[in-house]
Symmetry: C2
Subunit: 337 residues, 2 copies
C-alpha cells in the first residue's frame, strides 16, 4: 500500500493563516474492508470559506476540504477502480472509505461519482461545474433575481464564484460591474469576461468609482467580500435592491470576535427596502443538477469562460490557501496533487 | 378665518435636532375654493423616521408629518364638516386642500377619512391602529414569520412599533425579548405587556444579556434601532433567522455620510443563511385594512395594550421630536394640538 500524506490543523488561525498552522504527517494506509475503496487525490479545492470555517474546527483535526480523487483499489461493486469521485476528504492524499455512506469532513454528505464532464477537465467539478458554479448560478438567479437591463455589482469578481456570477448576469442582459483587487483581474473581467466596468478597490474609492460607473444605482449586489466595500455598494442601491451575501473574505482574517468596524448598512436597507440573504453551498445543493446542465451548455456554447490558478503538488496546500486569502488567484484556485 | 400656525424646517439637522432648526410662522388661511375643505389639526404624530427623512428635505419647507384633523369648513360633498381625516399635512394647524386629490408632504397619497375606531381615541389612527400598528403587524408576520415557540427579539421595544411587535409575537406563542433604554420601559414591557425578558442596552452588555436570556439563540429580530445593538443581536441568530429592519434610531442623529462604524454583520448573515429585509410604511399600505381589523379585535379582547406619550400644544412639536429621538417616550408619541 502507498503511504498517506495528511495535513493536520495544529494552530488556530490568528489573522492570515501561517505555514506553521499546519503539520504534514506521513502514515500507512489501512487495508480495505468490505465495501471500501482506496481513493487517490487528483485535485484539491482551495476556497476562502476555509478561513471562516476554522471557527468550527478543532486543533489536531485533519484540515478540511473537498477533492477530486480516483479510485485506485475497490472492494465495492458500484465504485470500480478508475472511477472519479468528489469527496469531502480533507487535506489528505489517500482516503479509505465506504463511498455508499457519509464520509465527510463536514459530516453531511457521502462521496459522489463525478458526472460526465463532457470532455472538460475533472477539476471543473471543484469550480464552475461544482459548488462554486452552483452557488453563483442559484445565488444570482434565486436571490438577486436580476432583470434585463438592471445593474449587477459583484465583489470578489476575479474569484471562482464572482467571475461566474458576472458572466451569468451578462447572459441575462444586465449591466455588470466587478470589484477586484488588481489590474490583472480588472483586465481579465473586462476584456475576456465582458464585464461592463471594473473597480480596483485597492487603488480607487469604491463609492466614487461606482457612482461614476453606474450613476443609475445598483439593483443587485452579489457579495463575496463584506467589509467596507460592501457598505459602499449597499449605500448606492436602488429601491427594492437584492443582495446575496456569499462571502466576506475582507473580514475572515480578522479576529472573529473583533473584526474591524464598518459603516452600518441599516439606513439604506430601510430607506430602499432592500432584501439581503446569506447563502452557502448547502442551500442550493438540491439544484446542482440544473446548474450543472445549464453551465455546461454555456461552456460548450462559448458563452461562459473560466480560469484556474493551479498550485502544483500536495505540499503546496497551505501556501495555496494563504495565497488565495491574499487575493492572488485568478478564477478558481486548485492544488494539483 | 382663523390664523394658521406652521413650522418651517429652517436649518438642516446636525446630530440631534435643535429648537432653532424650526421657525414658527403665523399666516392667514386662504378662503375655500370649490371642493376644498378646511382642516384643523387635532393630533400630530411624532416619529423617529422624521429624523432620517430629513436627508430628503430642503430648508425652507414646511416640516413633514402626519396628523389627525377635523373638517371645520367644507366645500366638498363627500367630506362634510365634523369628519375626521388622516392627512400628510406636515406641521401646521390649519390646512386647506381638496381631499379628493393627493395633498401630501410626501407626495404620495390623499387624505383619508378615519375608519370607525370602535370608540377608541382618534389618536390611535396615528399609532396602533395606523401606520405603526400596520408596520408592526405586517413586518413581523410577513418578514420575520415567527413560528410558535421561536425566539423573537425586538429592539426599540418601548416605542410605538416595538411595543406592538412584541405583543403580537406573544400572541403567536413566541418567547419574546425586548431591548430598551430605561428601567421604566423594562418594567412596562415585562409587567404590563408580557415580554419574557427585557434588556437595558444602556446599562447591560447586550450580547451577554441576550446569551443569558435566550441561550437557544434568536430566530426573529425586529429591529428599530440599528447600530451596535443590532450587530450584537444578529451575531446570536440561529440558522435561517429572519430580520426585519424597520428603524435605525441609534444612527439617525449621526452625520448621514459618516455614522459611527459598527461590527460588520456579514459573517452571521452567511454562516446562518439569514434573511434581512428593510421595511417602511409604504410596503404594507395595501394590508392596512387587514391589520386594522385584527389589531382592533385584539384591543377589544384585551390581548393588546398601548400607551401614548402625549405632548401638549402645537408649539411643543419641535420639543416632542427631540424628546423621542432621545428615547424619552413610552409607546406612541403624540402632540395634541
Amino acid at each position: 500500500m502507498p503511504q498517506n500524506k495528511r495535513y493536520i490543523y495544529v494552530n488556530a488561525f490568528e489573522g492570515l493563516p501561517k505555514l506553521t498552522d499546519f503539520e504534514l504527517i506521513t502514515e500507512d494506509v489501512p487495508s480495505l474492508q468490505s465495501n471500501e475503496v482506496l481513493c487517490e487525490a487528483l485535485y484539491f479545492s482551495v476556497d476562502p470559506y476555509m478561513r471562516a470555517h476554522s471557527n468550527w474546527m478543532t486543533e489536531g483535526q485533519t484540515m478540511i476540504g473537498t477533492q477530486v480523487a480516483k479510485i485506485v483499489e475497490s472492494a465495492h461493486d458500484k465504485f470500480p477502480v478508475g472511477s472519479l469521485l468528489f469527496g469531502d476528504f480533507g487535506w489528505q492524499l489517500y482516503t479509505v472509505c465506504n463511498p455508499g455512506v457519509t464520509h465527510s469532513c463536514f459530516d453531511r454528505r457521502s462521496p459522489q461519482l463525478l458526472s460526465d464532464l463532457n470532455h472538460f477537465p475533472a477539476s471543473l467539478s471543484l469550480g464552475v461545474l461544482g459548488m462554486p458554479g452552483n452557488l453563483a448560478y442559484c445565488g444570482l438567479l434565486e436571490v438577486c433575481k436580476p432583470e434585463t437591463g438592471e445593474v449587477v455589482v459583484v465583489s470578489g469578481a476575479g474569484g471562482a464564484i464572482g467571475s461566474i456570477v458576472g458572466q451569468i448576469a451578462k447572459i441575462k442582459g444586465c449591466k455588470v460591474v466587478g470589484i477586484v483587487g488588481s489590474e490583472e483581474k480588472m483586465a481579465w473581467i473586462q476584456d475576456e469576461l465582458g464585464f461592463d466596468a471594473a473597480i480596483n478597490y485597492k487603488t480607487s474609492n469604491v463609492a466614487e468609482a461606482l457612482q461614476e460607473a453606474v450613476p443609475e444605482g445598483v439593483d443587485c449586489y452579489f457579495d463575496n467580500v463584506g467589509g467596507e466595500t460592501s457598505s459602499a455598494v449597499i449605500a448606492q442601491m436602488n429601491m427594492h435592491g437584492r443582495v446575496a451575501c456569499c462571502g466576506a473574505i475582507a473580514i475572515y482574517n480578522e479576529d472573529g470576535n473583533l473584526p474591524s468596524k464598518v459603516t452600518p448598512i441599516q439606513l439604506p436597507i430601510i430607506a430602499k427596502e432592500l432584501k439581503i440573504e446569506g447563502i452557502t453551498g448547502r442551500r442550493f445543493a438540491k439544484r446542482a443538477d440544473e446548474s450543472f446542465k445549464v453551465l455546461t451548455k454555456w461552456l460548450v456554447e462559448g458563452k461562459l469562460h473560466y480560469k484556474e490558478t493551479v498550485y502544483g503538488g500536495f505540499e503546496k496546500l497551505p501556501e495555496a490557501l494563504i495565497s488565495i486569502l491574499k487575493g492572488e488567484n485568478l478564477g478558481k484556485a486548485i492544488v494539483r496533487a
